[in-house]
Structures are given as C-alpha cells and as structure tokens.
Subunit: 429 residues, 2 copies
C-alpha cells in the first residue's frame, strides 16, 4: 500500500523531500534515434514518413496518408450513440468555458502623446498529436482542438498513429466534431517532424500540441524553436485534501480513477483525520478488487501513492504548493477558503460533488494540465496557447521629442550609437 | 551590399524561400559540455559554481557569490546621471504599459448549476539570466524584471557572469531600480543549473528567463520541465515597409540600428518604390562611414540584409507574415491600415516618428520579442509569462446528477472504468 507520512514526525521534512524528488518516469534515452528520424523526414519528406510508418507501425500508408472525409463518416457510424451524445455535450461545455478566455486588445494614448497597446491574433496553423493504441482518448482530442478553434486557428492538423492499420473510431468522431481540418495516419517522431518541417502532403504548422510517448516528447523538444510546442506532459497526478466530513468511499474512487491511468500516476491524500485515512485505505482495497484496470491502479498506489497526516488543514497549504499538483480536490468543510490560499495547482475541484472525472470530460475547463510540479510555473491548456500578441507603438513628432533624449542616453550608454542616431536623426540633434 | 529581390521576377518564390530558410546562427554543439556542467552543479552545488566560475570566468567567487547591497550602491554611484535618469523614465513607462496586461480572474455559474472559472497567480520565484561582457544591457534587465514585478513575483533572482571580475555598473543599477531581490555573480550553464536545481547559496526558482549564449540556451533547453523557460532568443531582426513618402536617411538609420547588434542580425526593407530603395542604400553607405560599430553593421547588411521591391504595398503583407519579423516598422501613407492586415510580427512601430530604438528603451512595450520567425506562434515577454492560471470547478449535487451520465459514458468508452465509478458512486448508480 501507499506510504503514510506524519507531518509532525521528526523525519517528515526528509521524507517529504523524497516524495517531492521522486522520479516517476524512466527517461528512456531516445534522443539519438529521434534526431535521425527528424533529419530523415526533413530530407525525404513523404517517402520517409511512408517508410517509417511501414516499419514502426506495420501500416502501409502509400497514397493514403490523409484520412478522408468518407473514413471519418464511417468511423462515426460505428460509435456508440451515448458516447457521441456525451462528446457533443462535452464540446458545447468546453467551448462555452473557453470562449471566456478570449483576450482583449488594447490601444491607448498616454500623457506623453505616445499611442501604444497590443493586438492578439490566432496562430495560422496548429498541429495536434494524438497517441494511438490504449492511450488514445477522444476527450483529449476535444480538449486540445477546441481551444484552438475558439482562438480562431484557421487550420488544425491532427496526426495519429495507426499501428497495424487500426484506429479508434471515437477519436475520429471527436476530431470531426471539434472541426479538425486535416488528419494524417502517422505518429511518433516522424509525425512531429512532418508537422514542423512539412512534406509534400502535409504543409508545416507553426505550433504543435498534444501528448505522446518518449519519442514524441524528445521530438517536440528538438523542434522547439522551429515551431512552438506546449508543455511536455508527464504521468498524471491528483492530490486530495479532505477532513472527516468527506466520504471515504468517494475519495477512494477518486484516487483509483487517477491511479488507473498509469503505473506512474501519483495519488496523494492529505488529511487531518487518521481515521479518515484508514477508512479510505480500506475502501480503496475493497474497490480495487472489482476494478478492470486493477493491476495498473494497484501498482501506482503501491509505488507512488501517499497519505500525509497533518495536524491542521492549514498545514496542508505549503505541502500543496510544494507538490503543485496537476489536480487538486478539496473535500473539506470550508473548501473555498482553503482553495483561496493555494498558489500552485493546475486545476482545483471543489467539494464532495466534484470528482475529477467530471473535469476530465464534461465540466468545461481544460483537462490538459501541468504535471510533475510544473504548476509552479505553468498553466493548463487554453485559448491563449493558440494566439499570440503583437505590441504596437506609435510616436507623434512631439512625443518623440519628449522621449528621444532618454533613448539617446541609453543607446549611448549601451555602446549602441546606431540606436541613438536613429532617434537623433529625426530630431535634428 | 544587401541582396535585392523583385517580387515580380520569375525566380522570386525560390529566392524568397532561400531568404526565409537562411540559417543565421552557427548552432555550436555544446550540448555534451552543458550536460556535464548541469550534472556537476546538481551534484556539488556551490563548490561546482565556484570552480567553474574560477575556470571559465577567471573570477574567484568564494564567499562572495552574492552581490551585496553595498556593491549595488557603489555601482549606482559611478553611473552617468543622464543614463540613470533615462532608466528611471524607462522604468515608469514600462511599468505603466505592463500594468494593463494584468489578467482578470473569472468565476461563474452556468445554467446547469456548475460553478467554474480560473484564478491567476504569480510564479513564486523567477530567475533572470543577464549576459556579461559586451551584450550586457541595462535596458534588458528592466524589460525582463519589470513584468515579473508587475505580475507580483515575490522573488526575482538575477545571475550575471563577471568575467575577470568585471561588472557593468549600469546593469546593477537597473537591477536595483527594477527591484530584483537577489543577484549572483555566476553565468553560463552553471548559473542556469543553480537556478533550476538550487545550491546551498542560491535557492531554486520555478522559471528562468533572459537571453544568453549557446551554453545558456542549451542549458535552458535541458532544464525545461524542471523549471519553465522563456523563448530561446536568436539574432535580432527588423523588417521595414516603406513607400515613397518615407525619409530614406531615417530608414537607413533604423536599418543600421538593427544591424549594429550582431553580424547575424537581419534587416529587410520592403517597398514599392525602387527609387526609395536606391536612396536608402546610398544613405546607409554614407551613415556607415561614421558608425562606431560599422564593421558589425556592414557584415550584417552584406550577409543578411535584403531589399524586396513589391508592385503594390498590399503585396508586402504575405511576405511579412511569412517572415514574421521580430520588429516591423511601417512607414507608409496608411500605416494603420497596413498594420491591421498583418498577422505575424513581434512588435509593430507605426509611422515615421517611431524608430524601433524608442521601443528598445522607453516606449513602454517589452523589447524581448520572438525572433527567427517565431512570431508565427509566440508573443513578446509580458506579465502573463510570470503568472499561471489555476482552473476551478465545483458541481452541486444536482449538476453532478445532470452531467454525470455523460462523464460515465465517456469514461466507459475510454476503458477507464475507475473514472466512471468515481461519478457513479456519488449518484448511487
């Protein structure tokens, strides 16, 4: 079972530091192979894509790299109607939430007579990586594509590997629903290369988002600069803060919902009630027995699960901020008060009736969130990730005269006389 | 002199593609050495910093890694008063502009009874890399530190190499003015490592910003994930669009102001007037003769400068969007109209009286801008780069009942029964 820590025990700081420092990912060193794949696609384009896909995904994509509209329609036809209806509800709610994230432009003239501000615009083309096989989630397609759509991105390009020529129909249905413009059956580092550099079939994009395996992550890291990338996602996490008012069976279900993702997922319960902790552990063991993905969940809970007992719930706040969890559930008496004191968390789920799974699917906020303590500096995916800001500056002759001398002084002080001169030449200085 | 391209010539698409594809940076492969340095600092902390600084910067920092308040005061005392006054003006204007970038929180309850929104918070600790030697600019200290200050970052840590124990006093004065909290005399990959991993003297930060050489860039790329980083900056660029109403001498001065930065800087003039182009070339040659950094500027203009003649100014727009210049000056009759049609540019400088140098120093907008075509997907530095957003979700029992079935359907469809159960257990389903 999970480790249990007592925040009042003398060894706690060390034990907590160990928990924080835990490496949950085997960082497979695939960088050299990725470098070769990127160079190959850059040099040979489609031919390289076809060869690599044949070799790595055992799938012949000659002449059929792009998935056709007819294939999409056929895929949708075989999806369970309740799942399609759920996707439609999710789409509507995700769009409504993200529409509020649209930024506003600004343009103002200050007392010196300088007009300035900024203008937001959508990125012209975005690539969306979607994993194949078991980690292929239709909900993630919506969560990645819809903010881009809301941002106004005119061209959204999805790539998805089709190992042994198999595809998840619900993933295609989600892509169609979200308004993805092009879909190609290619994955791995070769798909990232195609999106970044372009090939005869796939025009390049300006930014690549979406989760992937070690090859995809290494490829994204390498093409960063040529294109923009989103965060490099790690294994998922939840931290639940609860007091004795919480329902232990519900908490256990929430911990297992996280643990079933991945053996490297991490679930942490922080509570001021040792009794609750015991009850949660018992409920969790009980529920594990009937969970289809019990092996994965049990391994995650055994290897990375933790229960931290704090003397008071107030003491949970610095621990939360240090862990900076991707998901934070607060099931305590004054959940809002506690939430207001937290600085670092990707998403907060408030109260007993907000299991994280609601947020994964149909809540509205994005489920692509910063992992591995990166909520200390990063945000979940949103509309701003698909837009960029251009600053605007306009001086009148008078305002140039007012500000010019200071610019000349600084240009001169920095040894950049050409800078100074570009101002002085206009002022006849 | 610079290359001249005619947009109506048959070979133009190829020539323009070559211009776009130009590599202006020798990408020195320092990755292996950087990896060693990072590992050394991670393992040995301060001892490694002291050794590396002694070896690489020929500076003994034993017991004096941190720059004291007394040293800052002494540095400020030797700065030219006009430069200090100019910095103070710059500070006030940069702060006023960036204060408008502070984002707003949101919290609303929708028709389904779900409460949701987000909350922005400042990053708790930010590292600011400042280059030493000739590329050490006080204006950059303000441009990097002030948005963090406006964001509310409580701890801003600056690192700056002091080769041969020398420092730029105006850089220290700028840091003091901007309210930087700690300054350490260390640079290179070792400084990035110290900020990311922490040492006994330097507590770790959550994000690192600021420009640097190949070692710094490689180190930032490697620690990305452990901490956040800003963009990897490349050589600076300007694209000027002008018609025959523009003053050729002013344009030449602006091109040279950019070219004097770096032999790898790029200056492009796009115009519908071949006459103007000729006049600018003549003025540029004339001004070069008296420019202190003439050798650098001449090399930049010779190797990477370009003049593109377009039949109509309208034809400039797609060229601008493809180049996605860091700086875009528009000196034409209807500058605003043309500016409104541009999608990709880091910053736009409107009209004859707005030389880019004003924006470098005292305009107000940030001068840290996306280079190397990354304005296609990235923005200049701003307040949002020092904050992160936490999403908030709260279901009532009724709204969970309304949304629950869709979440259960999607969890089941994705093979994540534990997700479905965390909802159904609350609904007694």
């Amino acid at each position: 079972m999970a480790i249990r820590l007592d925040a009042q025990a003398p060894g706690f700081p060390t034990a907590f530091a160990t928990l924080l420092g835990q490496k949950r990912e085997v960082s497979e060193d695939v960088d050299e192979r990725v470098r070769t794949i990127l160079a190959d696609v850059a040099a040979r384009g489609d031919a390289a894509l076809i060869e690599l896909t044949s070799r790595l995904d055992r799938c012949d994509v000659t002449g059929r790299l792009r998935i056709t509209e007819a294939e999409l329609a056929r895929a949708e036809a075989v999806c369970p109607p309740d799942a399609l209806a759920a996707l439609a509800l999710a789409k509507q709610r995700i769009e409504a939430y993200h529409a509020r994230q649209r930024p506003t432009d600004e343009l103002f003239t200050d007392d010196a007579g300088v007009t300035m501000g900024w203008r937001w615009s959508a990125i012209a083309a975005v690539g969306l990586y979607v994993p194949g096989g078991t980690a292929s989630y239709p909900s993630s397609v919506l969560m990645n594509a819809l903010p881009a759509k809301v941002a106004g991105v005119p061209r959204i390009v999805m790539v998805v590997p089709t190992p042994d020529d198999t595809l998840n129909p619900l993933v295609l249905a989600a892509a169609r629903l979200a308004g993805v413009n092009e879909i190609y059956r290619v994955g791995g580092a070769q798909a990232v290369a195609a999106l970044a550099y372009g090939t005869a079939t796939i025009a390049p994009v300006a930014k690549i988002v979406g989760p992937g395996n070690a090859y995809v992550a290494a490829a994204k890291r390498r093409v960063f600069g040529t294109v923009g990338i989103d965060m490099i996602a790690g294994p998922s996490e939840v931290l639940i803060v609860a007091d004795e008012t919480a329902n232990p069976a519900w908490l256990a279900a929430d911990l297992l919902a996280q643990a079933e993702h991945d053996e490297a997922a991490q679930c942490i319960l922080v509570t001021d009630s040792p009794t609750l902790a015991d009850e949660v552990e018992r409920a969790l063991a009980h529920q594990l027995a009937t969970l289809p993905r019990a092996a994965i969940a049990a391994a995650s809970w055994r290897d990375y699960g933790a229960i931290v007992i704090v003397p008071h719930l107030d003491d949970a706040v610095p621990l939360i901020d240090a862990i900076a969890p991707e998901h934070l559930e607060i099931e305590t008496r004054d959940a809002e008060v506690l939430a207001a004191r937290v600085r670092n968390a990707g998403a907060i789920f408030l109260g007993a009736h907000t299991p994280e799974a609601i947020g994964d699917y149909v809540g509205g906020p994005n489920h692509v969130l910063p992992t591995a303590r990166s909520a200390r500096h990063a945000s979940g995916l949103g509309v701003l990730d698909f837009m960029k800001r251009t600053s605007i500056l306009k001086c009148s002759p008078d305002s140039l005269r007012a500000l010019g001398p200071a610019a000349i002084a600084l240009g001169t002080a920095e040894g950049l006389d050409g800078h100074a001169r570009s101002v002085s030449i206009r002022l006849n200085l």
